[in-house]
């Protein structure tokens, strides 16, 4: 039983890692651009396909492919910023529709480029850290955990310790006033889109060898990410991370001890309960709704 708990705990830590990477990106984009990026799941998918294209099909070393995934998807983020969100800055509903359109395009491009079938990605490593016969942490999952911890720490440092964090918060709250303080709102938006999208791409790229990569894989991750950022409080990065951890543990443990469908219902109920008790999420403030 202890072993089962320990293994489930490890599974949950992994889940929390990639969920928080995706959720934090979504929050960052929402915070700065003021739009809900429906295409975020497809950015995750795009990251995975970069690994397919480079690592699985062209034998580029895995970590280079992952870095390329981060950069490529980050650039997609910049493209969205320039082509969609900037022209639609005062039109959040328009931004929503545009991101839905972008989602459809990305999906269709993936289908056209790679087909609808699940993609094969050779394993990066088959090594496993065996704590005991029944408690095992595959190295490939450890990579994801490490990446999440490192990237989130870097982001945290970047936001708290550099002026960018100020710029980000200020432009999220009032872009015009931020510009009057000498903050380049466009630059801030670009950085936020690059990081936000890049994190989704990174998560997709890193987990690509562990999941079934197909053009529609973005759907389930974005549903999870939505739940997580709502529970955390929209706009709060700390909230997103905390909620990812809570959600991942609840979902993983319920899956293991009951079943997967109950776990989904539990996750959603958790969210509704949090919202009934605190309608702005764990860390949200009332006025940003």
């Amino acid at each position: 039983m202890i072993e089962l708990l320990a293994q489930t705990g490890l599974n949950a830590v992994y889940a929390a890692s990639y969920i928080s990477l995706v959720a934090v990106g979504l929050v960052l984009i929402f915070g700065v651009m003021g739009v809900i990026n429906f295409a975020h799941g497809e950015l995750f998918m795009a990251g995975a396909y970069v690994v397919v294209a480079l690592y699985a099909q062209r034998f580029v070393p895995f970590f280079i492919a992952v870095a390329a995934g981060l950069v490529f998807v980050g650039l997609l983020g910049l493209l969205m910023e320039r082509a969609l969100f900037r022209p639609l800055r005062d039109n959040p509903l328009g931004g929503l529709v545009a991101s839905i359109g972008f989602l459809m395009i990305l999906q269709a491009l993936a289908v056209m480029g790679f087909g609808v079938r699940m993609e094969y990605i050779p394993p990066v490593t088959q090594e496993v850290i065996a704590f005991s016969d029944k408690v095992r942490l595959p190295i490939s999952r450890l990579y994801v955990i490490i990446a999440a911890v490192v990237m989130l720490s870097l982001l945290w440092y970047f936001l708290k310790r550099t002026r960018f964090g100020w710029a980000l918060r200020a432009s999220a709250q009032d872009p015009q006033a931020a510009a009057l303080q000498g903050i380049s709102v466009t630059l801030t938006a670009k950085i936020a889109m690059f990081i936000g999208a890049g994190f989704a791409g990174l998560a997709g790229a890193l987990t690509a060898p562990l999941v079934s990569v197909n053009p529609y894989m973005g759907h389930s991750i974005i549903v999870t990410a939505f739940i997580v950022i709502i529970v955390g409080g929209v706009g709060s990065l700390e909230g997103a991370v905390l909620a990812s951890i809570v959600y991942a543990f609840v979902h993983t443990f319920v899956t293991t001890f009951y079943d997967g469908v109950i776990a989904d219902i539990t996750g959603l109920m958790l969210m509704l309960i949090v919202l009934i008790v605190k309608p702005t999420g764990l860390f949200g403030s009332a006025d940003r709704a």
Partner: protein
């Protein structure tokens, strides 16, 4: 009055000008018009729900189950579908209207997902993932000069067009009434509305319940036509389409969302299919969404408005000349 007669005549003639599969599309289009139009009523209060299609599903399930299990007469079942959907919305309004804006958007999505998971989980009575099959069709009948055969899309189009027209009329009456005005007041300045004595919670709930009721009717209409429903028929992808119809159509007029629904459906289901673009359809549809929102940020309705305003001006000029 004359214009309405003309429209009625056109609608009557319309199916006879179409191919069979286009007639089928026409039926679904008619039903979807009710879905977006009811959605608009909710958005009048400024809240955008992602659960509207699931609520529509509640109507479909309710009507399908009532007619199937207790042999309720189908038209009554359709009405009951609306009632059950409205009551469901009433129950949901308690948790949901503690939230606003983005929270409401995602909260309504979660509530919808829970309902869908319940359908999936409980094979008794909801039929699980396969849903409900063999739903009673509308019983055929004859009105003397016309025999309704509800297998035929044309017949079902006439039937649903009448139902939808009545619903639209009611929705329109509501929007143009002091209640509709209050909804808008709640949207634009909820505090000021409250200071004028408006009970925000009550009005938000009212809009949600009415919109849901009509969505339920639309769902029931759909169920009795296709004869089957399942949880996936009401998933978020369908919702995304409703959302894009409403926004691409435009949010400032009653007809905007309807226009969006008609134009986008025709583009997607008729034009792109006719062009033989079966597999690139999603790509092109996505492009259309983006381009239309970039170049018509105020929706398709803004084109119509420009057109009609020009007309107004033209008709004004002679008077000015006098």
């Amino acid at each position: 009055m004359f214009i309405w007669t003309v429209i009625a005549a056109i609608l009557f003639a319309l199916p006879n000008l179409l191919s069979f599969s286009q007639q089928e599309v026409l039926v679904f289009l008619t039903i979807n018009i009710l879905v977006v139009a009811s959605y608009r009523l909710l958005t009048l209060t400024g809240e955008w729900s992602l659960g509207h299609v699931v609520i529509m599903g509640v109507g479909a399930y309710a009507s399908a189950m009532l007619t199937k299990s207790s042999g309720l007469y189908v038209p009554l079942g359709i009405v009951m579908g609306g009632v059950v959907a409205g009551l469901t919305a009433l129950a949901l309004s308690y948790p949901l209207f503690r939230m606003k804006g983005f929270y409401f958007l995602i909260g309504s999505f979660a509530a919808g997902e829970i309902i869908r998971l319940l359908w999936k989980r409980f094979r008794e009575p909801f039929g699980g993932t396969k849903g409900i099959k063999g739903i009673d069709p509308m019983p055929d009948f004859s009105v003397g000069f016309y025999d309704f055969d509800f297998f035929e899309p044309t017949s079902y189009f006439y039937f649903s067009a009448i139902v939808v027209a009545i619903c639209l009329w009611i929705l329109w009456r509501i929007e143009k009434s002091p209640i509709g005005l209050t909804f808008q007041a709640v949207h634009w300045q909820d505090k000021l509305a409250q200071a004028s004595g408006v009970n925000l919670r009550a009005y938000r709930t009212l809009a949600f319940v009415i919109a849901s009721g009509f969505a339920g009717i639309a769902g029931a209409l759909l169920a009795h036509y296709i004869g089957t429903i399942n949880p996936n028929s009401f998933d978020v992808e369908v919702m995304v389409f409703v959302l894009t119809w409403a926004i691409v159509g435009g949010t400032s007029t009653f007809y905007g969302p309807i226009l969006g629904c008609v134009v986008l459906t025709i583009l997607n289901e008729v034009v792109l299919r006719e062009l033989g673009l079966e597999q690139t359809r999603p790509l092109i549809y996505g492009l259309i969404l983006i381009l239309s929102i970039l170049f018509m940020p105020n929706g398709l309705e803004s084109i119509v408005q420009k057109f009609t305003r020009q007309k107004e001006r033209r008709s004004l000029r002679p008077e000015e000349a006098k």
